[in-house]
Every structure is written in structure tokens, then in C-alpha cells.
């Protein structure tokens, strides 16, 4: 097993034995389940009226996609709480020296830490996805659109996790790491809000914003430009994380 995979598996195991991570997952799933039931109830009330409309929106439009869009907003808060201790926690307890002294390259450490945290985030995503998927037993879902939304959410979660790991490498205070990751992702989520108010929706600033690239997935559009955007964030954030680890070898913990 490669060192990165070993670190990822080990970090996943460490997260899995902590009550904090499971409590966080439970709260998120409970919140999403509550929203899901409310949306379903509303849909059932509207269903008789929708039947008479031409091209009426279905359960995918009115229940599934709003639920997943709401989950994407929750991820902005959730991911920093999961990633905050990946490196900052190790620096705080001075256990990072175990990895640094083991001759594992900084890039491998960054990648291992990233996939360890991402594994847990994706587990929560899978739990949330089981809710809309359960509707398939009673109705007909637009599975293609659901798959596109799931892919978009996975990429979105991947980008947020990479930013979270980077922030965790930047400080030895996990709370500060969470706050800075939340601030950066919130900024990326709202960076083009002003431009949109002015009616600008195709400028460079729109390209930088996270919603510009996650929304097409919710509409069922899988575009390479959006995939590249998320992959670029992941690669750049992990490169900076490795660079930061390199610098840590030159400063005291």
C-alpha cells in the first residue's frame, strides 16, 4: 500500500472512532431528513394541481434537486469541521513529526490527509443520497439528472475538502483552520453576487464562483469546464498544502 493510501486509511479510521465525527454526521443527516420530509409533504399537497399542467415539474425538480442544493450549502459549513484537525490537530498535539520523520514525501502526506477527510465527507453524501433514491420505489426519478447532481456534489465536496486541508496546514489551531476554510469557501460561493445583481453573469468573476460550476450539475449538465474548475481547485490547494508542509520543516511546531 502506498504511503498516501496508508495515511488516508489511517485518518479515516481515526475519524471513525471519534464521537465528534459521527455526531456531526448524525446532525447533518437529521437536518437533511427533516428538509426531505417537508419537501415531500409539500410535493404531495401540490401533486393534484401539477397533474393538469403542461411540462409540470416532477419529484426530481421539486424534492430531489432542492434537497441536494440545500446539502451543497450545508457542505460549506460541514467540510471545514471535518478537515480542521487533519493537519492542525496533528501540529497541536505535536504528532505530525511521526509523518515528517517517516520519510514520507510532503505531497503524499497532503494527498493522504485529503483522501482521509474526503472519504468521510463522501460517506455523508452517500447517506444523504439514499433519501431521494428511496423515492425510486414509489415513483419515477430522473436518474440521469440525479447522477449528474451527485457527481457535481462529489466534485464540490472534493474542492471544499482540499481548501479545508490547506487551511488546516496553515495553522496549529483547528478552530482557526475551520474558520478560515469557512471564510474562503463562503467568499468563493458569493464572490459574484454583486456582479449578478448588476446583471453580469458571464464575466471572469462569475467563473471564479463555486455556484457557477455546481448549478449546471443540478440541471443535469455535465460540462468539462466545470469538472476542470473543481479539479483545478483540488490540485492547487493540495500543491499549496505540500508546499506548506515543506515550510513547516523549517519552523518550530
Amino acid at each position: 500500500m502506498s504511503a498516501a493510501a496508508l495515511i488516508a486509511r489511517h485518518d479515516w479510521r481515526r475519524l471513525a472512532v471519534q464521537p465528534f465525527a459521527w455526531a456531526l454526521a448524525a446532525v447533518v443527516v437529521a437536518l437533511m431528513a427533516w428538509q426531505y420530509l417537508l419537501a415531500l409533504e409539500t410535493f404531495l399537497q401540490l401533486a393534484p394541481k401539477l397533474g393538469g399542467l403542461k411540462d409540470a415539474p416532477g419529484v426530481t425538480d421539486l424534492v430531489v434537486i432542492p434537497l441536494l442544493r440545500s446539502f451543497s450549502n450545508l457542505l460549506i459549513l460541514l467540510v471545514p469541521l471535518i478537515t480542521m484537525r487533519t493537519i492542525a490537530g496533528e501540529r497541536r498535539t505535536q504528532s505530525l513529526s511521526l509523518l515528517l520523520a517517516a520519510g514520507v514525501g510532503n505531497t503524499r502526506i497532503a494527498v493522504g490527509k485529503y483522501f482521509g477527510a474526503l472519504g468521510f465527507v463522501l460517506l455523508i453524501l452517500v447517506l444523504v443520497l439514499t433519501m431521494p433514491l428511496a423515492l425510486e420505489f414509489g415513483t419515477s426519478l430522473d436518474l440521469g439528472r440525479l447522477a449528474a447532481a451527485a457527481l457535481g456534489l462529489a466534485l464540490f465536496a472534493g474542492a471544499l475538502t482540499a481548501i479545508g486541508v490547506l487551511c488546516s496546514a496553515w495553522t496549529s489551531q483547528p478552530a482557526l483552520a475551520a474558520a478560515s476554510a469557512f471564510a474562503i469557501t463562503s467568499l468563493l460561493a458569493m464572490i459574484d453576487a454583486g456582479a449578478r445583481v448588476q446583471g453580469v453573469d458571464n464575466a471572469g468573476i462569475n467563473y471564479l464562483a463555486l455556484p457557477t460550476h455546481v448549478e449546471p450539475f443540478f440541471r443535469g449538465i455535465v460540462a468539462s469546464v466545470d469538472i476542470v474548475y473543481f479539479l483545478l481547485i483540488i490540485v492547487v490547494a493540495l500543491a499549496f498544502t505540500a508546499r506548506r508542509l515543506d515550510r513547516l520543516r523549517g519552523t518550530p511546531d
Partner: protein, 316 residues
């Protein structure tokens, strides 16, 4: 300096600047397999920074750290199998149990499958961790945690073992057990131990290097420092002539200048005489042997002089 061809570890003019301050300056050190080097110094002398550079956690600002002749900065993967490092605060994961944690460490150091399992079992045995192997590390006492830290440093059987204040915070029994383990490791590994406790150095090291303000102020073999002198305490009041009547004793002087209590003596034995022979002679004469140990005043004296800044740096 040309690296010693048989040295496991060679530091060549190593310096490190941290936050604009020169923490270690032009340090030259070598260490061979089967040697235990004690790195002494007061707090802030540069011991931990030196050990972090030796372990590959910190890169030197200038100079090179060589493991078996290879530059550690250019080949950091050398550290994976060849170096075992126990920092001052053991790098533990309190949410895991001892066996899980050591298994991860074994794999991190490049062992796999049954080799990782065998190394974990051996390290648990060597560090007496059998009774706590399934306990969470976070629930262990300080002594056990220190031993878990030591176990992770030795489980991949590295050529070089680097221990930063391993006995820090341990009770006397735990410290004694740790000394025995370190002494045992020194038989077939190169070991560097940092401490500011002189008895630890005397008990388990072959050589000593003393740092002060980042500079190497003294290095040499402990045997040369001890000079064969012994410290004895007896129940009976004796004088120097009583000691000199023993044919094995070359010289005797009281340690207490106040002659009213002449029970503690510094003795020098004739060459080749074993300490056990002296012990037997004291018992035979009925002096009432209460204490007998190797004299360490020379090391103490050197250390105190260096700590007071009276000794210049050792020339490279």
C-alpha cells in the same frame, strides 16, 4: 570534514536558523553502530533542533546530515527504514489502541503484511506493553505513553535511533527501565539520546556531546571522563590510612570537607581492579558498605563550566 566511512550518522558543519536566530551552529558529529551518544545541554542549548535535523523533520540551513554516507535532505526516503525518532512529546494518536497505532507506524516505515505484524509484536514485547496492547493510548499513564513512543521508534529495526528526552516526566522506576531499554538498544544500533539529566547519560551512554547556545562545547568518551574514580559511603568512621591499607586502593580523599562526618569517600583503584573486588574488600573489613558507584564529578564539572559559559566551542 570528511565523513567517517563506517559512521551511521555524520553531521557536517550543520547549522540551523529559526525565526532569525542561530539555534545550531557549525555542528560536527559522528556516530557508529553499537554506540550510544548522550547529547547534553541546558534548556535552549539546541538539542531538540539538532535531533529534529538528524531525524529529517527539520532541514539544516547549512551543512549536511548523512546517514550511511547518503545526504538525508537529498534522499529523505532514507529516514523511512533507517531512522527511528522519539520526539520530546511522543507523536501518539490517543483515539487508537496501542496495537493499532504500532501497526500503522510499522506500515508507515515500509513494513507490510506479516513483517508489520511481527515487528509490532516484537516492539510490544521489547517495551513491556503486552498488558496494555488493547488499551486506548489516551487512557495510558505517562510512563506507558513514553514506552509506546519508544516502541514506534524502534519497531522497524532502524540503524539509527534518535531519542529526545526519553525519560522526561517518568518516575524513578520507569526511568530505570527506560535506561535499561536504551542500553540494550545500544548493543546493535546507533543511538542518540538528548537529556539534561547527567545520571541518565552516565547510566546508558558511551560518549557524550555537550551543546551550549547551539555550539558543540565538548565531546568525548565517558570512560575517559570517569577516570576510574569511585564514590563510596560506609557506615563506620574511617580515615584515609584505613583505605590505603587495602592493597587495591591507590588513593582516598574524603568528599565531606567537614571531617566530623568522614563516611563518604572518593577512591581511586589500581589499574585492572574490578569494583566488585573493592566491594568484597570493604565487606571483609567490616566498614559497613552503604553505597558504591562510579564518580561522575568530571562530567558534572565540565557541564557546569559549559553552562556558565566558561568553555569555548570545540574546533571543527
Amino acid at each position: 570534514m570528511t565523513p567517517d566511512p563506517i559512521a551511521v550518522l555524520a553531521l557536517d558543519k550543520v547549522s540551523r536558523v529559526l525565526a532569525g536566530r542561530l539555534v545550531v551552529s557549525d555542528l560536527d558529529l559522528t556516530l557508529a553502530r553499537g554506540e550510544v551518544l548522550g547529547l547534553l545541554g541546558v534548556n535552549g542549548a539546541g538539542k531538540s533542533t539538532t535531533l529534529r535535523m538528524i531525524a529529517g523533520v527539520l532541514a539544516p540551513s547549512t551543512g549536511t546530515v548523512r546517514i550511511d554516507g547518503a545526504n538525508l535532505c537529498e534522499q529523505p526516503e532514507l529516514a523511512r527504514r533507517r531512522i527511528g525518532y522519539l520526539p520530546e512529546i511522543p507523536p501518539l494518536h490517543p483515539e487508537l489502541n496501542v496495537a493499532e497505532y504500532l501497526d500503522f507506524c510499522a506500515r508507515l516505515h515500509g513494513l507490510a503484511g506479516t513483517a508489520a505484524l511481527a515487528a509490532t509484536v516484537q516492539a510490544i514485547e521489547r517495551c513491556d506493553l503486552g498488558e496494555v496492547r488493547r488499551r486506548l493510548i489516551g487512557s495510558l499513564s505517562k510512563g506507558f505513553r513514553q514506552r509506546v513512543g519508544l516502541a514506534q521508534a524502534i519497531l522497524h529495526d532502524p540503524e539509527l535511533i534518535v531519542l529526545d528526552e526519553p525519560a522526561s516526566g517518568l518516575d524513578p522506576v520507569q526511568a530505570l527501565r527506560l535506561r535499561e531499554i536504551v542500553r540494550g538498544l545500544g548493543a546493535d544500533h546507533a543511538v542518540v539520546v538528548s537529556t539534561h539529566v547527567l545520571p541518565d547519560v552516565l547510566a546508558c551512554c558511551d560518549r557524550v556531546a555537550i551543546l551550549h547556545e547551539g555550539e558543540l562545547r565538548h565531546q568525548g568518551a565517558l570512560a575517559a571522563l570517569a577516570g576510574g574514580a569511585l564514590r563510596v559511603r560506609v557506615a563506620m568512621r574511617v580515615d584515609a590510612s584505613d583505605w590505603l591499607r587495602l592493597p587495591i586502593v591507590l588513593g582516598a580523599e574524603p568528599i565531606d570537607t567537614n571531617a566530623s562526618d568522614a563516611h563518604r569517600w572518593r577512591l581511586r583503584l589500581r589499574e585492572g581492579v574490578a569494583i566488585a573486588t573493592l566491594a568484597a574488600a570493604i565487606v571483609e573489613r567490616g566498614f559497613g558498605l552503604e553505597e558504591l558507584r562510579a564518580e561522575n564529578s568530571a562530567l558534572e564539572e565540565i557541564f557546569m563550566k559549559i553552562a556558565a559559559g566558561e568553555t569555548p566551542a570545540v574546533a571543527a
